[in-house]
C-alpha cells in the first residue's frame, strides 16, 4: 500500500478531529451536564379546583410522554403531594422550561378542513391521504351497545401510516398561507406521530363531551377505542352538531373528519361515518396497535375531566450529586486513564504511544459531538452517560490490545513488524468489527425502545463504539502501518518481545 493511501486518511481524521474541536471552542459549545451533575430547571405545577386523582396521574403520564420525547436529556417527573414536579437538565431560561412542558390543557375537537404531509419532515412525497380513505373499513358495524355508530380514521389517523406513501398526487393545501389564507378560528396543527399537518377549523367541542370511561375494545384482532357521550347539552348535543357538520362534508369540514387535539397536536383525526350518534357512544376504529389505542383512550379519559394547573413556577435546581462528586469523578477518571496508558506503555513499550494518540483523537471527536449536540439537541451528560464513556475506554483500548497481541505473535514467530502490520490489522479489524457491531446493536435497540437514563446510556455507548471503529480504521491502521516501515520500529524491542531476526543477530 502506498504511503499516500495511508497518509490521506490519517491526515483527514486529524484534520476533522482538530477542526471540529476548534469550531466548537470558537462557537462556545461545551457539553452540558445532566440533573445529577449540574442541576437545571425545576417546574412545579399545582392543580387548581376540583380534580380527580386518576386524571392527575394521567396528566403526569401525558407530561412525561412529552418531556421524554424531547431527546436524550434525562428529565425527572414526579408527584410531590398534589403537585407535579418536572426537573429539566441544562435548561436555564424559564420560558424555555415552560415551553418544553407545554400547557396540558383540555382536549379539543375541531373539524378538519384539509391535511397534507408535514413539509418539515418529508419533502419527497406530498400526498393527500383523503383520497385513499375509500379502503378504510368504512362499514364497520361494531356491536358496542346495540347499534353503535362508528368512526373510522382516514389514512392520516394515529396508527395508519401504512399505505400512505403510495399516493403521489401532489396537492397543495388551499389557503394555507399562514399570513393571509386562514379564515377566523382556523389554524394549522401538526399531527403527533403521523407526520401530517392539519388545517383545522375552530374549536367546536372539548373532550368534556365524553364521560370519563373511554375503553379499548378488541375485535377480530383489531383495537378500537370506545367513549361514551355525556347526556344532552353537556355532551351528546354538542357532539352530534359537530358530527353532522362533518358528515355532510360542507365547506367547514370538507374532509368529513374530526381532529382530536391535545396541546396543539392532532392525536387522531377519525372520519365520521354517520350523521348522528343516537345511542350515546362513539367508537373509533383504525389500524391501531394496542399501545396506540391505549394512548388515545388515556387522552380521551383525561379530556373528559381535565386537570387545570396554575401557572407553573420555575426554579433553578442544583445538582443532586454536587460539584465535589463531579470533580472527584473527573479527577479519578483521568487518573484511571493515565494508569491504563502507563500500563500499556509498560506492556507494549513504544508502540503504546499510538494508543495515547488514538485516545486523544477519539476524545477530541467525542467532545466535539457531545458539545454540538448539547447545543442543538439539549443533550446532557449524566452519570449514566459517564458510565457509557468509562466502558468505552475499556472497549477502545481492547481494539488496540487485540491488534498488538496479533503483532506480538507474528513478530515472535519471526516476521518483521513491517510484514505483519497490515495482515495483523486485517485480522484484528475483523474481530473489532464483529464485537463493535454487537455493541452497536445493543445501543440502537436501547435507544429506540427506552426512555430516560437508559436512553442516555445507549446514546453514549453507541457514540463511543462508532468512534472506536472510525479511529481504528482511519487512525490506528495508517499510523501503525506507516510506523512499521520506519527503522526505529523494526529495530529491537518495540513490542516488548524479541523478534526472531534480532535473536539470530545476537546469536
Amino acid at each position: 500500500m502506498s504511503r499516500r493511501r495511508l497518509l490521506l486518511p490519517l491526515l483527514s481524521i486529524l484534520f476533522i478531529a482538530c477542526g471540529a474541536f476548534v469550531a466548537n471552542v470558537v462557537a462556545g459549545n461545551t457539553p452540558s451536564l445532566g440533573l445529577d451533575l449540574q442541576g437545571g430547571a425545576s417546574v412545579t405545577m399545582t392543580p387548581i379546583g376540583d380534580y380527580e386523582e386518576a386524571s392527575l396521574n394521567v396528566a403526569v403520564d401525558i407530561i412525561r410522554q412529552r418531556v421524554d420525547s424531547i431527546g436524550v436529556a434525562e428529565p425527572e417527573i414526579q408527584r410531590q403531594g398534589k403537585n407535579v414536579v418536572v426537573n429539566l437538565p441544562g435548561v436555564k431560561d424559564q420560558q424555555e422550561a415552560l415551553d418544553l412542558i407545554g400547557r396540558t390543557g383540555s382536549v379539543e375537537l375541531r373539524p378538519v378542513v384539509n391535511l397534507a404531509e408535514n413539509p418539515d419532515l418529508t419533502t419527497t412525497t406530498s400526498a393527500a391521504p383523503g383520497a385513499t380513505t375509500t379502503t378504510v373499513k368504512g362499514a364497520t358495524t361494531t356491536t358496542v351497545k346495540g347499534a353503535t355508530t362508528t368512526l373510522a380514521p382516514p389514512a392520516g389517523g394515529v396508527g395508519s401510516s401504512r399505505g400512505r406513501a403510495e399516493t403521489t398526487t401532489t396537492t397543495t393545501v388551499p389557503g394555507t398561507d399562514p399570513e393571509t389564507g386562514l379564515k377566523p378560528g382556523q389554524t394549522i396543527l401538526p399531527g403527533r406521530k403521523d407526520g401530517m399537518i392539519y388545517l383545522v377549523g375552530p374549536v367546536e367541542a372539548t373532550g368534556e363531551v365524553f364521560s370519563n370511561d373511554a375503553s379499548v375494545q378488541v375485535e377480530a384482532g383489531s383495537f378500537s377505542v370506545v367513549a361514551n357521550l355525556r347526556n344532552g347539552e353537556l355532551g351528546e348535543n354538542i357532539w352530534n352538531a359537530l358530527a353532522r357538520k362533518c358528515y355532510d362534508g360542507g365547506e367547514e369540514c370538507p374532509t368529513k373528519s374530526i381532529a382530536i387535539v391535545l396541546d396543539g397536536e392532532v392525536i387522531s383525526a377519525p372520519r365520521v361515518q354517520t350523521p348522528s350518534f343516537t345511542n350515546g357512544s362513539v367508537s373509533i376504529t383504525g389500524n391501531f396497535s394496542r399501545a396506540e389505542a391505549e394512548e388515545l383512550q388515556k387522552i380521551l379519559q383525561f379530556g373528559a375531566v381535565p386537570v387545570k394547573f396554575e401557572t407553573p413556577t420555575v426554579q433553578t435546581v442544583s445538582a443532586t450529586l454536587g460539584k465535589d462528586s463531579l470533580r472527584a469523578a473527573i479527577i479519578s477518571g483521568l487518573l484511571g486513564v493515565a494508569l491504563v496508558l502507563a500500563f500499556l506503555v509498560f506492556y507494549y513499550r513504544l508502540i503504546a504511544l499510538v494508543v495515547v494518540a488514538g485516545l486523544g483523537v477519539s476524545s477530541l471527536l467525542m467532545w466535539s459531538i457531545v458539545s454540538w449536540l448539547s447545543k442543538t439537541n439539549g443533550l446532557a451528560l449524566t452519570l449514566s452517560g459517564a458510565a457509557g464513556i468509562i466502558v468505552s475506554i475499556g472497549v477502545t483500548v481492547d481494539s488496540y490490545v487485540v491488534f498488538f497481541e496479533k503483532l506480538k505473535d507474528d513478530v515472535q514467530a519471526g516476521r518483521t513488524l513491517r510484514n505483519s502490520a497490515s495482515r495483523g490489522f486485517d485480522s484484528a479489524w475483523r474481530t473489532i468489527l464483529i464485537a463493535d457491531t454487537a455493541s452497536l446493536i445493543g445501543a440502537l435497540v436501547l435507544w429506540w425502545l427506552t426512555v430516560g437514563s437508559v436512553r442516555g446510556f445507549a446514546f453514549f455507548l453507541g457514540l463511543s463504539t462508532l468512534s472506536d471503529m472510525v479511529v481504528s480504521y482511519f487512525f490506528t491502521r495508517p499510523i501503525v502501518l506507516l510506523l512499521s516501515r520506519t527503522r526505529l520500529f523494526n529495530n529491537g524491542r518495540v513490542l516488548g518481545v524479541r523478534g526472531a531476526q534480532t535473536t539470530a543477530e545476537v546469536a
Binding site: D36, S42, I77, Q78, R79, Q80, N83, V314, T316, S318, T320, L321, G322, A328, A329, I331, S332, G336, V337, L339, V340, F343, Y347, L383, A387, G388, I390, V391, I393, G394, V395, V397, D398, V401, V402, E405, Q412, A413, G414, R430, T431, I434, A435, T437, A438, S439, I441, G442, V445, L446, L449, T450, V451, G452, S453, V454, G456, L461, G496, A500
Partner: protein, 370 residues
C-alpha cells in the same frame, strides 16, 4: 516464578481451561443459588427513584446548608448518601429540597425538628410531602422489553456470523453476569438507583464484547483445525490460551478507571454517590472477563462436542507440550510421539515445534475472500 510470567507474556501458556470447566460451573452455580436465595429472602433495596418517598422543603436560612442538612440526616441515622439534597432558587428566594426514601412518622418528625432548629425557622415552615417515583413502571417495562429484543438480535447476529451454539454460550454468559451482579446488590443490600440499572447494562455490554472476542478466536481456530482430528475441547483450550493475554490486558484496562473511581473518587474525595456505582461496574467487569472464559467457552465446547462433526473426534485433551505444539503448528502430535518425547524430556516446558518454524519465515497466509 519468572518463567511462568514470561510464558504468559509471550502467549505460550498451556493452561487446561476446558478440562477444569466443572470448577467454573460449580463456583458460578453456587453464586447463582446464593443470588436466587437472597432475591427471594430479602429482594433488592430499591431507591427513592423507584419507590418514591418523602420530600422536605424549607427556606435556606441560618446555618442551614446542603452539608449541614446531610449531617442532620446522618445524626438521625438515615442513609445520607442516597438522599437527594438540592437547592431551589428563583431570584433571591432560596429553598432546600431533601428527598429521602420512606420514613416512619417518628423519623419524619425528628428530621423536621432538626432542620427547623438549624435554620432557626418555625417547624411549620418545613413542608413534608410524599413524592412519587421518578422512574415509573413503564420505564422499567420499556427497558426490559428493549433488553429482550437486544438479546434476541444479538443471538441472531452471533448465530449468523459464527454459529448458533456460540450464541447460546454468549447469552448464557451474559445472563450469568447480570445474575451475579444483581446478587451482589441483593446480598449486600446496596441501594438500587437508576445509575445502577445503567451499570448493569454496561456490564452486559462489556461481557458480550469480551465473549465475542474470545469466540472469534475459537472460530478462527475451528477453521484452522478443521481437517485434522483435533477435539473441540482442544480447540477451546488452544483458543483460550491464545487470547488469555488479551483478555487479561483488556480487563486491566477496563477495570483501572473504575478502580480509580472507587478508591480515589469515593475513598479519598468522599463522593459516596460514586461508590456504589463504581462497585457495580467493578463486580460486573470482573465477572464479564471470568464468564467469557469459564462459562461461555465451556458451554460452547460441551454443545459442540455433541455435534455430529466433533462427536467422533473426542478423546483425551492435549495438555502441556502437546497443546503448545497444537498452538504453534496447527497439527496434533501423534500420541505415541508425544509420549516418547515426554519420557525423554520430563517436565521441561520447551516449545517443540516453534523452533522448527523459526528456521524459515512463515509463508504469508493465502488471501481468502469471505
Amino acid at each position: 516464578m519468572a518463567g511462568r510470567w514470561q510464558r504468559l507474556y509471550r502467549g505460550e501458556t498451556t493452561i487446561n481451561f476446558y478440562g477444569r470447566r466443572n470448577v467454573g460451573f460449580i463456583v458460578s452455580g453456587v453464586l447463582l443459588i446464593v443470588t436466587f436465595g437472597s432475591l427471594l429472602v430479602q429482594g433488592l433495596n430499591l431507591g427513592i427513584d423507584f419507590k418514591g418517598g418523602v420530600a422536605f422543603e424549607m427556606p435556606v436560612k441560618g446555618a442551614l446548608t446542603v452539608d449541614s442538612a446531610r449531617t442532620i440526616l446522618e445524626d438521625n441515622k438515615l442513609e445520607a448518601s442516597s438522599a437527594k439534597i438540592q437547592t431551589l432558587s428563583s431570584g433571591s428566594d432560596e429553598r432546600l429540597r431533601i428527598q429521602l426514601g420512606e420514613l416512619t412518622a417518628e423519623q419524619e418528625k425528628d428530621v423536621k425538628d432538626d432542620l427547623a432548629a438549624k435554620a432557626k425557622v418555625k417547624v411549620e415552615e418545613v413542608s413534608v410531602e410524599k413524592v412519587s417515583a421518578t422512574w415509573g413502571r413503564s420505564i422499567t417495562w420499556n427497558a426490559v422489553r428493549a433488553l429482550l429484543v437486544f438479546l434476541v438480535l444479538v443471538s441472531l447476529f452471533i448465530a449468523w456470523r459464527f454459529e448458533s451454539r456460540m450464541a447460546a454460550g454468549a447469552i448464557a454468559a451474559v445472563i450469568h453476569d447480570v445474575g451475579i451482579s444483581v446478587g451482589v446488590y441483593s446480598v449486600l443490600q446496596l441501594e438500587v438507583t437508576p445509575s445502577t440499572v445503567v451499570a448493569f447494562l454496561t456490564i452486559l455490554g462489556f461481557s458480550l464484547y469480551d465473549t465475542i472476542v474470545v469466540f472469534d478466536k475459537v472460530h478462527e481456530n475451528t477453521g484452522r483445525f478443521s481437517g485434522s482430528r483435533v477435539s473441540y475441547g482442544d480447540i477451546v483450550n488452544v483458543s483460550m490460551n491464545q487470547v488469555l493475554m488479551r483478555s487479561l490486558n483488556t480487563t486491566i484496562a477496563a477495570v483501572l478507571p473504575v478502580l480509580s473511581l472507587l478508591i480515589l473518587g469515593s475513598g479519598v474525595f468522599g463522593a459516596v454517590a460514586l461508590q456504589e456505582f463504581a462497585l457495580a461496574l467493578l463486580v460486573g467487569m470482573a465477572t464479564g472477563a471470568y464468564s467469557s472464559i469459564y462459562i461461555a467457552a465451556p458451554i460452547l465446547g460441551i454443545l459442540k462436542e455433541r455435534s455430529a462433526e466433533y462427536s467422533s473426534k473426542q478423546g483425551e485433551l492435549s495438555l502441556g507440550t502437546d497443546m503448545a505444539s497444537l498452538m504453534a503448528t496447527g497439527a496434533p502430535v501423534s500420541r505415541r510421539a508425544s509420549a516418547r518425547k515426554a519420557e525423554a524430556s520430563e517436565s521441561v516446558a520447551p516449545k517443540p515445534a516453534v523452533d522448527a518454524l523459526l528456521t524459515h519465515p512463515p509463508r504469508p497466509r493465502k488471501k481468502t475472500r469471505r
